[in-house]
């Protein structure tokens, strides 16, 4: 998993992206993958498998929960949504990331 190594830094980022995606409402794994790639314009080159692992890890930690349901084309699919804990996590991570990114950006600007 060479890509995953590059993305060590972004492991937390992946969680953040997923939590952010789910603010639009419950979605299944495929929709989530699409949303991430569309929103990032494929800039991040994320392996989809890593996305699923991240998703299940979040579920395991209680940030999201899943339920089986029917997809738009009437197929059985697993839908994910936030838990209250997940929403809190999203807010705090968002704030942290924004601060962090701003700081890094500031440093890069000065050079």
């Amino acid at each position: 998993m060479a890509a995953a190594n590059d993305l060590d830094l972004l492991k937390g980022t992946l969680d953040l992206l997923i939590l952010k995606a789910l603010t639009w409402g419950p979605m299944h794994g495929y929709a989530l993958v699409r949303w991430v790639s569309q929103t990032t314009d494929d800039d991040l080159q994320i392996e989809e498998g890593a996305l699923y692992t991240s998703l299940h890890r979040l579920e395991n930690r209680g940030f999201v929960r899943s339920e089986w349901g029917l997809s738009e084309n009437n197929r059985k699919a697993k839908f994910y949504q936030h838990t209250a804990l997940g929403r809190r996590q999203l807010r705090s991570q968002e704030a942290l990331w924004t601060r962090y990114a701003r700081a890094v950006f500031k440093v890069l600007q000065t050079s």
């Binding site: 998993m1 890509a3 995953a4 409402g25 419950p26 299944h28 794994g29 495929y30 993958v33 699409r34 392996e47 989809e48 498998g49 890593a50 699923y52 692992t53 299940h56 890890r57 579920e59 395991n60 899943s66 339920e67 089986w68 349901g69 029917l70 997809s71 738009e72 197929r75 059985k76 699919a77 697993k78 839908f79 949504q81």
Partner: protein, 908 residues
Amino acid sequence: MTANPRYRRFFRIDRGDADVEVGVDEELRFHFDMTVRDLMAKGMSPDDARREAERRFGDVQHTRESLTSLDRERAGRERRTEWFGNAAQDIRYAARGLRKKPGFTLAVVLTLGLGIGANATMFGIVDQLLFRPPAQLPDPGAVNRIYLSRRDDGKDFTGSSMQYRRYEDLTNWTTSFSETAAFWNTKFAVGSGDASREMVVEAASASLWRLFGAKPVIGRFFANDEDRAPEGAPVAVLGYGFWQSKYGGRQDVLGAQLHLGRSELTIIGVAPKGFLGTSATPPAVFVPITRIAAEIDAGNRPGKRYFESYNMSWLEMIARRKPGVSVKAASADLTNAYLRSYAAHRAMSPSLTPAEIANPRGIAASVVKERGPRPGQDTKVATWLVGVAAIVLIIACANVGNLLLARALRRRREIAVRLALGISRGRLLAQLLTESVLLAMLGGVAGMMIAQWGGGILRASLLPKIEQTNSFGDPRILAFTAVATLVAGLLTGIAPALQAGRSDLAATLKAGAREGTYSRSPLRTGLLVMQGALSVVLLVGAGLFVRSLHNVKSVRLGYDVGKVLYVNPEMRGAKLAKPEKAQLRNRLLDAARGLREVAQASRTITVPFYMTMEDDIFVTGIDSVNKLGDFTEQVGSPEYFETMGTRIIRGRPFAAADRDGAPRVMVVSQSMAKVIWKGRDAIGQCVRIGADTMPCTTVIGISEDIKHGSLGADDQGLNYYLPIDQTGQDQGGLFVRTRGSAVAQTEIVRRSLQKLMPGDSYVNVTPLDEIVNPEMRPWQLGATMFAVFGGLALLVAAVGLYSVIAYNVAQRMHEMGVRVALGAQTRDVVRIVVVEGVRVAVVAVVIGVGVSLLAGRWVAPLLFETSARDPLVYAGVGSLLIIIALAASLVPGIRAARVDPSVALRAD
């Protein structure tokens, strides 16, 4: 959570591990299918699309595994959370239900508490009697208590008491044991002057310390060379408790002097805390057994010393087997040694039964006395009472089960609704069982309190020899109670759970509260019959024991118990010559007679059930009189018969003229006269006592028989009486007949007589009651316990019967209303209800009587001159139960008859 229009929920969350894998695969498949579909929509070929999808995804296998393991972890956690959540919910639900019905809860908790409490108490007692080896004894399985058995006059005697010489023989002539020890647990006056008290003293061989592997707290224990015949060293080891209470645990107690009996002992050490040796109660002092033996010996008639002869059986023996030696081999080894010792014994006393007939055997038995060949009567009764307590618990469970069942029936609609709403039957069952286990736990707590309090009374009043324990502090009793509680909870929960599991949903829901609900519940009736039958069994037991007790109490002892005191002078160190001893006793006699409270007094040597004397007697023309039975010898003053209340049937009692030097005279009991002279007049006959060369002792009177060794028919009442002036003037004590109850005068008599005692000597005054009553205790115990438990069982069964009948009547109000409307009389309605109750009782009586008759075979040996099939008891118990059933169903019957038809028919 916001409702999502794009999907609807219809699958349950993943549960099992298999579900998890299927779920992961399904999710991934969906992902690939969608990806491929979208890529193909963009114009890719199916193969390209699949390859592209896999590329984008990365390592499928690895991802699949990590997803599965993540999900599995979560599913497990969720299952556990759900289980705990359910359990907590069930407990809350059950607790709320119980709080809402405090009366019901109290009744159930008390019923179960009594059942569990009775069992905890009996378990505590039996555990202590049968399953506790002596404290601090390492590897008790390898230690045996030694019993000797032999055959005499066609009867087998097995006993643990033996002579010092025998103990030495068995020690020297066996090879099976690594250590043997002799001991004698007794009471001695310890201390001097007013501070002296009778205390538990363990006389033990020096080997006892090694056998127990004990280490002294301070000082040392006595060693072999301090425990040697003829006379052990005057040393003492203090018990820990006595050291603390008397000496405040001081270290300088070593070397101090201690007054014990006639001896001055030097304290050389202190035994470890909690060390009891072989005693049931903590000994105050441990003394070398040869020291005590020498002390007793000094008081005896001159002759062979205790270590030379086989005259006096008094000590007991325990032994530790060498590793690898079986109990059987040890017993065989003992038998061989005993045979050799018996031969030595017979060489000294040629009158001893030859070994071929006596068949002497040694037995290595359990170190726990009550498990050996000679358990006490108390133990037998206590073991029985365990069964009785178990029956009480079963009855309590049946009753509580019945009450819960009635509740379940009332809640039938509620349960049906909940089933219809999708609760699983498993969850429902768990809920019902939670309720009954919760009740049982409350009952268990109540039971522990009952065991602590009621058990204390029981032990104190009926089993005084058993030491008090704290039920709450005893892990074995706690564990037992916990198990009993759990079993009770499950037992009581089964019936209602079965009922709930069986109910037909649709029918119950369709029916109104009235319609279709009346059907006799066979389960409830069955439980009721069982309760009734078990109550009958217990009550029959109670009846049999009460009859036994009555028979024991009405046994004509041949003397009055309630009005007689036994006065026993203890000489302790005061060294008097024989004439002085005789004078002292006669002074005591005169002083006693001078008291206002005393009606009469007499000298005595023997005391019934306490001290017996026998001598060889010879009658011309009869070959070996001693083969005819055991003749007991009593010795007294002329007033002996008046004092004891023993009637003279013919002839005369002793007179003052029958003194030393006058012609020798005796009084014999009726049975003795009959056995020896068979129809001829006994008065005027000549008996030679001690040897056939002795001068004639002439029979001058015939008295009634007395019970001297046993209350039963095995005491044949072969007694004879000699005037004390013609026998042992200097021995024995007094019997004092008081005007009022003897117990009340004990202290007055003791104080008055004590004034005459020289030096350190003192008098013991004991009501004869206290000596004779313990003989009746097994029946007292049996009668009380069976009566208490039987009464409880009856009460519980009566309440159960009432509640079932009342419930049935309530269910049939509609029907009763119809009957009344159609012109039924009060009498008819009452009859319908009462007949139902009585029918249950009759069935219960029939079953109970059958079971009792079967069980009677085992209880018969415990009864006293009472048949285990005593018709009076059976008839009494049977009618009692039926009368109770009548009473219990009469109340609901009358209520049913008072039904206002218009109300009953309009209801619901």
